[in-house]
Symmetry: C2
Subunit: 229 residues, 2 copies
């Protein structure tokens, strides 16, 4: 198909497709003349993947390029592949998280810490994770922030969240195909990146509903806030 | 206490404190001379809150200012308060999510959609949420992305995630104090913002562990990847 049809079928503007081609996120088409190229179903599926990662997935162009490289040249064992994918992704929340660039200087050291409480936390959970994993740093930062803000956690604390998320993780890992490394890395990366916004959005809505149930009826007595949107 | 002691006790550099004072995130101290001001425990606790929100919380200065305003002037009912806090926060993932600013133009319409599938999803769950809530838009975007990427969800699909997160939400809402609006909004805002990075970090670690258990032993047989970090 020609660029215009690729654009129509993917609902991605031609200028954006050209940008992805220039950035190497999409392999070049097959030249049929000096100014014409043909694209195939592989381009369409790759384009959809790129859109998902760059758009709501929120990954930078550079991270997407690394993810695509891992898909195109997967490591041998599924475990190694998972480790590489996790490492790639561990940069992505940092792209957002470090919102400390508003004019105030950072003071380092604050979230780095020794990491010991985090290692103890993970060890207490009995989890086996890569030493120096980006997610360990993120966990340390999250725990520091909760600590600093003296936030009251739910009954059971961090261990309760860990228990629930590990249960989900086991169910999620069951969906990873073990016959094709390409399919496996695709599932792992997309499952990590695309499920995160889903979890956060669902959690905020669940909190609204749960709060309405606790406070809505007894306090305001507002019928319009009860069940049935 | 003087600025230097406030800095020492909070581990926040004086230049950063001065920046927060200029931005109105911290109320001015009590002037004791033309160039000296005194700060109290209230400043220290407010400063810790600001650090938590700006740092790992990842909120912009403007959002933090709105959150502080809601704490200082809370609405009457806890439900209204929760609604306002949720609305304030619904802007924050957008600050990160729209990573489409890399040079390619956006094509709008893509994540907006009609919202109907999302309303149906939420209605099917029996949740009561504010119409037009930012989280609805985030859910729509997340579902679109999953759909576009043709990601295989775990058994039970979105409803399974919803069930698990609603269970957590009920436990979380139980921690919101109902005697003081200030304490309630603090718990709601911090509980939303600070728990999100915790959830994501724990999930990534849980996925590592779960994947190691499924693939590590049988495929690579690597003993170092088994239990006990």
């Amino acid at each position: 198909m020609r660029l215009s049809e690729l654009s129509r079928r993917s609902a991605v503007p031609t200028a954006t497709i050209k940008y992805y081609l220039r950035e190497g996120l999409l392999p070049p088409g097959r030249l049929t003349s000096a100014t014409q190229a043909q694209y195939d179903e592989g381009h369409l599926s790759r384009l959809r993947l790129v859109r998902a990662l760059v758009g709501p997935g929120g990954l930078s162009i550079a991270t997407v390029r690394s993810v695509l490289a891992a898909i195109d040249d997967p490591p041998e064992s599924p475990l190694e592949l998972l480790g590489r994918a996790t490492e790639l992704l561990s940069a992505s929340p940092g792209e957002c998280g470090g919102a400390e660039t508003d004019g105030a200087e950072t003071d380092g050291g604050e979230t780095g810490g020794t990491g010991d409480p985090v290692r103890r936390t993970v060890a207490a959970l009995g989890w086996s994770v890569a030493e120096g994993s980006g997610a360990m740093g993120e966990l340390a930062a999250a725990l520091d922030a909760i600590d600093e803000a003296q936030l009251t956690l739910l009954e059971g604390g961090v261990a309760r969240y860990a228990e629930v998320l590990h249960g989900l993780a086991v169910e999620e890992v069951a969906t990873v195909p073990d016959d094709s490394p390409e399919a496996a890395v695709r599932q792992v990366v997309l499952g990590t990146v695309l499920i995160e916004p889903l979890l956060l959005a669902l959690r905020r809505l669940a909190l609204q509903d749960a709060a309405g149930r606790r406070f809505g009826q007894s306090r305001t007595g507002s019928g319009s806030q009860s069940r049935g949107v």
